[in-house]
Symmetry: C2
Subunit: 373 residues, 2 copies
Amino acid sequence: MSKIKYELLHVDKYSKARRGRIHTPHGIIETPVFMPVGTNSTVKGLTNDQIKNIDSEIILSNAFHLFLRPGMEIMKDFEGIHNFMNWNKPLLTDSGGFQVFSLKDRKISEEGVLFRSPLDGSKIMMTPEKSMEIQQTIGSDIAMAFDECVNAKWGYEYMKDSVDRTYRWAKRSFEAHKKENQSLFGIVQGGLFSDLRQRSLEQITSIPFDGFALGGLAVGEKYQESEKVLKEFGDKLPKDKPRYIMGIGSPTMMFLSVENGMDMFDCVLPTRMGRHGTALTWNGKLNLKSAKNKFDHSPIENDCNCYACKNHTRGYINHLLKRDEMLGKTLISIHNLYFNIHLIHKMREAIENDSFLDFKKEFFSNSSYPLQN
Amino acid sequence: MSKIKYELLHVDKYSKARRGRIHTPHGIIETPVFMPVGTNSTVKGLTNDQIKNIDSEIILSNAFHLFLRPGMEIMKDFEGIHNFMNWNKPLLTDSGGFQVFSLKDRKISEEGVLFRSPLDGSKIMMTPEKSMEIQQTIGSDIAMAFDECVNAKWGYEYMKDSVDRTYRWAKRSFEAHKKENQSLFGIVQGGLFSDLRQRSLEQITSIPFDGFALGGLAVGEKYQESEKVLKEFGDKLPKDKPRYIMGIGSPTMMFLSVENGMDMFDCVLPTRMGRHGTALTWNGKLNLKSAKNKFDHSPIENDCNCYACKNHTRGYINHLLKRDEMLGKTLISIHNLYFNIHLIHKMREAIENDSFLDFKKEFFSNSSYPLQN
């Protein structure tokens, strides 16, 4: 099999939540799915065995970061990221659109984005064609089209031009993409403007991509704003292709996204919070740096089957964090990724039983996570 | 069984190298043995599973550091370090002698050492009785007597007084130690002065400790100086008890120590070098930060069975180090500890076959480690 194949298994009776399955060159992904982020071809602090032990089905890496380091010469020499990092399961790369637009001192033209390398200041031109070349070299199972990720503050007129440019770049991405055993997803932009989202959705879905993403969310907007976009457009994405919302990873946003028909999510939140000493639990967030954990003999979470909870106490982890020991960061990162992945597993079960909304209600009534944030 | 029991299995025909076995409350240690250091009740960067997977039979922790943090209130509450860090195999604590004497602003008296806490500047009095109390609370399988670790530059007269004080402290340590399921080792001092080493050896071995250590070496002296002490005194330590030389972990010093009848070693070198990007191999040291590894598809070491070598290339590890990713440090630390532990395994085999000196010759002719350093 060369491209991914999506099966829609079931839609929840009382919401738009979908239960699906994606077949990829490196194995099957059940959906909805949370994808741990391995920016530099490593999920921070975890070995591949530890990633597999938390039942991760797919990880995400960043074309932009890998382009800078280790660089494409090395990626070619190793024949792609799977060999390079010895990861034999599915992997998705994002196109660099988001990263490039986070840089200061960039210049956008019809051709692409000119920016200075954060490494050595040299000028680099990133184009849809270049991004496809990079992602094909990296050899991810799923590549993303090169888009313009826009700050909503730049206003309607800019966003309208940008949406049209993202469409032209999407067509160029699609045309430049040749790799047989790699799929390509298009990205719908349009910020918080309904008509521009609609315009972008029509444009992007007119191209026969293998899947579609909502981009330009989770960039600092209010909950109500992303909710509005998701409610209006989540289920307008093609039903027969995977639907990916980029940069989403909090329980609140994952529930909102699944409820509105999205299938795939990625976020650095579980590992970043882990490195900073905060655990995600079924009751809410837990600050393990707090002195109240010092004498606590219980695991981060009772009944959790992750390595950290099966082996270590809050008191021990509190001590590790105070001494800034790597193991503390690793243990909480393992737990947090396990939590996100297994929360999604529970969502899958609920969808299969047409009880997604009940499960959501139960989850928020038993935890301190905000239903809206 | 409450105390350790030592069995001398075999002595090499052509050297003083010994093959032995120590029975402890938490299992058997074959000797000679290298003990990974877990200063803060964690071997830096490794999970307990990873420590066990490199075939570590015993780890070392530091009474002084644990006394400061997490502190004895927590250690009591968790009923000792085995529970606290969930380590169910043998563990040795050093007494704090070395750490206390590394501090500036300390005052030595007959009673003990008065120093300021590096945490909050408060005054702390460390005595033999206090060190025993701390180590009994920690609950290590093997505790060490509280000694004075002296800078050789302080001269003969100071060293002579110190040797006698260390003897009085050793007697006080022995008298204060009451814990049934914990053994206590004495420490021979005397610096580089033969007559004072002899004096200390006679004094310390007159006390019925469960084992004996050579202290005050590996503190910056020349190879020839430590060689002289080891050749003269290594095999003078009682034959029916384990012999431990503190702070030793380089191949050069481990060979020298085993050849002269020592059984146990500890050193932060493998993990510290690992965190700084240097691997220990059978050919010599390997700087994995060096650009020449960028395109190298081979593991750190061919034929090595550690997790790092079984799964990853030098090129990938080089990339991880450049990005300062935790995984790079963890992988090399795993390899380096595996190397030290399995080098000792090979020494054991050689002793059993009366070929220790041949093995030593072969090792140094095939590697760039200095025979003397």
